[in-house]
């Protein structure tokens, strides 16, 4: 196995692990995992899901 092949395997593994880890971390932090970077359209709302659902009567 050449050096380049080892580098390919390591890079691919690190990449996959990195993507999965970043998603897990985002989820733990309560941020959206849709890759919008929290600055697209309306996504700042994602992590405020537990809003007070109290509504006005009448």
């Amino acid at each position: 196995m050449s050096v380049w092949e080892i580098i390919s395997i390591v890079a691919c593994s690190l990449f996959v692990i990195g993507v999965i880890t970043s998603r897990v971390v985002k989820r733990i932090k309560g941020k959206p995992t849709c890759d919008c970077g929290c600055d697209c359209a309306h996504c700042s709302g994602c992590y405020h899901s537990k809003v007070d659902k109290t509504k006005k009567d009448n």
């Binding site: 050449s2 995992t33 919008c36 970077g37 359209a41 109290t54 509504k55 006005k56 009567d57």
Partner: protein, 770 residues
């Protein structure tokens, strides 16, 4: 850091101002309810940096919907240093209703008269000084869009943020003034912040206040027993609202000088509305507009000119070599928009991108890897596992951007809000209000923000029903599936038009959504349809800056996804398709012994009724892999095809070169799947329909879970998504394959409808007897 909040009515330009002040690119739309949550940024041109908080639009501080509660709570409990109350100058009196409430808090207020340029253009005038005197707080005329008056506004807001202010009210002349004063004094003794505001809300019977200030509530109740208004009786909310409006019309009407106008003369907006919101023609016009968009984006034969005039092809003109390649670069450029037919703008951009950029770039990269000294498996991993998967996904970027450019134009012009209005009558029959249309149409972009936008719906059951059908509105990520499969049908089988198939599938999604809502609102989610009141914004020419911001958002999101989750997924898929359970490396030809094949074959029979199950033979499992990979991100469906295409080529000995198939193009990747499995057209359409309506990507599933709130409802939603997509897929496949099954499906639907009607009638009789 000081906190300055932007508060105002929906669609008055808060987010436009926020973007101008902070340099952000938050989504701006010409319809009320775009912003459903607070967002913050920093303004740096004051002596010290200040935080700017953009709040969802509200008509008053008595909230009904979750996003209105966010605004009220922020103003009252997050201790902002100043409120910039953005007022739509073209509709001053109505906007000042909220202003009168904001003034009742102890927070310093600066009023920003937005859209003053439009007022001036109309020939009207607003006396800013007089308004300032009446309100008792600074007033600054601005144009958020043209970025005029913003420096002065921020300087005033910064100055005000340093002073201590006590709330004032315009209700001093109402019969409730004394009661308000007494309650305020009582609250003040309890050290309640913003006592005047809370006192008025208590008198108004605001349920949130009654729950918070239980000690003071009896005092108000005692007074109410002895009070009766001649007009409103004991409706204290109405008495206070009336007091505010009377004050506004008495004191502020004189600050506005309107140009003498012919009252009978219709404005251009009115004239357009007469046609576009017509009670009969409104919906057909909408469908026509939608078709025009799809035609402009996906049609190979623009306006069907090629079919009408029978233009000569490049081959007939002798402009291609014997291999079918253009004879020179000029002909290659010509081929991007002409080859016996004229390409639509979307397809023209698509050809430029794919033929000249993606094809060459990824072809060159692939060649470099191929020529390297790496072993075959490493070349396979990089070329098939990474490059082809990513190229197949990126090949759809032009179509996605073109489609969303048109959608953004509709949104920014104000037409989308009209569609909500014209659909209200139809939606109401199915148990939804027209307001529910706005999140649904946002679903064409992405299900995540669309589900969040359902917060603007006041009724929980309506909200649940809307969240459930949002994935039926095909999002940008599903577009590659639609385009690639539709394109492959046209190219491989030589039938239909890609634009018509794509348009048809979008319509199928809409019809499925309506049928599902009808079913839910007649069974598990029964309830009253809430009233729908929406202010129709004026039509205006879409802003170039906004359109580009929307496209940038969409493009960035798509590319980022392609270079993260899609690459990661294709690497995993490649590995699983090249290793056995014994962890032995497999050549492309041995793909059927891979982990991926073994696991997928186990699930394959489940999809037999949908046309892409056991009947597809030994390689049919690739469709199962694509469906499952699509749960991570829908772009994965085509990336999976592209990754596996090379293996299938090796297995079945297909000659891509002869058939001009190149797996770097998503359409070609689907063609290789068709050749390897022998899948039929109805099964392919069923595959699209299933993917369009099934469980969306993980991000959307997570959002649905958060938005729905309770576990039972979420589990029901997951089941609903799977079952509905399964039934729709099976219906499409069976009807497409055997026309007579139409009668069976019709009978099944009729029995279901009758069953529901009978059940509802029976329950109604039962309740009446009780």
């Amino acid at each position: 850091m000081k906190k300055i909040v932007l508060a105002g009515n929906p669609n008055c330009g808060k987010t436009t101002l926020f973007n101008s002040l902070t340099g952000s690119t938050a989504h701006v739309g010409n319809w009320p309810g775009v912003t459903v949550d607070k967002r913050d940024g920093v303004y740096k041109k004051t002596p010290e940096n200040v935080a700017i908080i953009d709040l969802p639009g509200i008509y008053s501080l008595s909230p009904y919907t979750p996003e209105e509660i966010i605004s009220r709570n922020y103003i009252l409990y997050e201790k902002p240093d100043c409120i910039i109350n953005i007022v739509d100058s073209t509709n001053l009196e109505r906007n000042l209703y909220l202003t009168t409430q904001l003034l009742e808090t102890d927070v310093p207020v600066v009023v920003a008269l937005n859209m003053i340029d439009v007022v001036n253009k109309n020939g009207d005038k607003i006396d800013v000084k007089a308004l300032e005197d009446k309100l008792g707080v600074p007033v600054v005329a601005i144009s958020a869009l043209k970025e005029k008056g913003l420096k002065e506004l921020m300087d005033k807001a910064y100055e005000e943020s340093r002073v201590v202010r006590e709330g004032t009210t315009v209700l001093t002349d109402t019969p409730l003034a004394r009661l308000i004063d007494d309650v305020k004094t009582a609250l003040k003794k309890q050290n309640v912040e913003n006592p005047l505001f809370h006192a008025i809300k208590l008198v108004e019977n605001d349920s949130m206040e009654l729950n918070t200030h239980k000690e003071t509530a009896p005092m108000v109740e005692e007074f109410k027993k002895t009070f009766e208004d001649n007009t409103f009786g004991k409706d204290f909310e109405a008495i206070i609202a009336d007091g505010r409006y009377k004050y506004i019309s008495k004191n502020f009407a004189q600050t506005v000088t309107k140009k003498e106008k012919d009252k009978l003369k219709m404005t251009p907006s009115d004239k357009a509305d007469k046609v576009l919101t017509h009670k009969i023609w409104g919906i057909p016009i909408f469908l026509l507009v939608l078709f025009a968009i799809f035609h402009l984006t996906f049609a190979e034969d623009f306006l069907y000119l090629g079919a009408i005039f029978n233009f000569p092809t490049l081959e007939e003109l002798g402009l291609l070599t014997e291999d079918g390649e253009p004879i020179n670069f000029g002909v290659q450029l010509l081929s991007t928009f002409y080859d016996g037919q004229i390409a639509s703008p979307g397809i023209f951009i698509d050809h430029i991108w794919n033929d000249l950029i993606i094809g060459n770039l990824f072809g060159w990269l692939g060649g470099l890897v191929e020529d390297s000294s790496l072993s075959q498996w490493a070349i396979g991993l990089i070329n098939n596992g990474i490059l082809e998967g990513i190229a197949a996904v990126l090949s759809f970027l032009p179509c996605i951007l073109t489609l969303f450019l048109f959608f953004s134009i509709l949104e920014d012009s104000g037409y989308m809000a009209r569609i909500a209005f014209i659909l209200d009558k139809m939606f109401r029959r199915f148990g939804l209000s027209g307001r529910a249309f706005m999140p649904m149409i946002m679903g064409f972009g992405c299900s995540v923000p669309a589900m969040i936008n359902t917060r603007t719906l006041a009724d929980d059951k309506e909200r649940t029903a809307t969240v459930r059908v949002i994935p039926f509105f095909s999002c940008g990520a599903k577009l590659p599936i639609l385009t690639a499969v539709a394109g492959a049908i046209v190219v491989y089988f030589g039938v239909g038009n890609a634009d018509l198939i794509t348009y048809g599938m979008y319509l199928l999604g809409i019809v499925a959504a309506i049928a599902s809502v009808l079913l839910m609102r007649s069974t598990s989610l029964k309830g009253e349809t809430p009233p729908f009141i929406m202010e129709l914004p004026s039509y205006h020419t879409p802003q170039f800056k906004n359109l580009m911001a929307h496209l940038w958002d969409k493009g960035k999101h798509f590319v980022k996804k392609a270079f993260t989750i899609i690459i990661a997924s294709t690497i995993v898929i490649w590995l699983l398709s090249h290793f056995s359970f014994a962890w032995q490396f497999l050549e492309d030809e041995q793909i059927n012994d891979s982990i991926l094949a073994d696991v997928s074959k186990f699930v394959q029979p489940l999809f037999t009724p949908l046309g892409f199950g056991s009947q597809l033979g030994q390689y049919g499992w690739v469709f199962v892999v694509a469906v499952v990979a699509g749960l991570i991100a829908k772009e994965n469906v085509i990336a999976t095809f592209a990754t596996l295409a090379a293996c299938l080529t090796a297995v079945v000995g297909m000659d891509f070169g002869e058939l001009a198939i190149d797996a770097e193009d998503g359409i070609d990747a689907v063609q290789s799947m068709i050749m390897a499995t022998g899948i039929t057209i109805p099964a392919l359409i069923s595959f699209i329909a299933f993917n369009m309506t099934t469980i969306p990507c993980f991000a959307a599933v997570g959002t649905a879970k958060a938005e729905l709130g309770n576990k039972k409802s979420f589990k029901g939603t997951l089941l609903f998504w799977f079952l509905s997509s399964y039934i729709i897929g099976a219906m499409v496949y069976t009807v497409g394959s055997w026309w007579w099954t139409t009668f069976i499906w019709t009978l099944a639907i009729a029995i279901t409808v009758m069953g529901i009607v009978f059940r509802n009638k029976h329950n109604k009789v039962g309740r009446n007897q009780l």
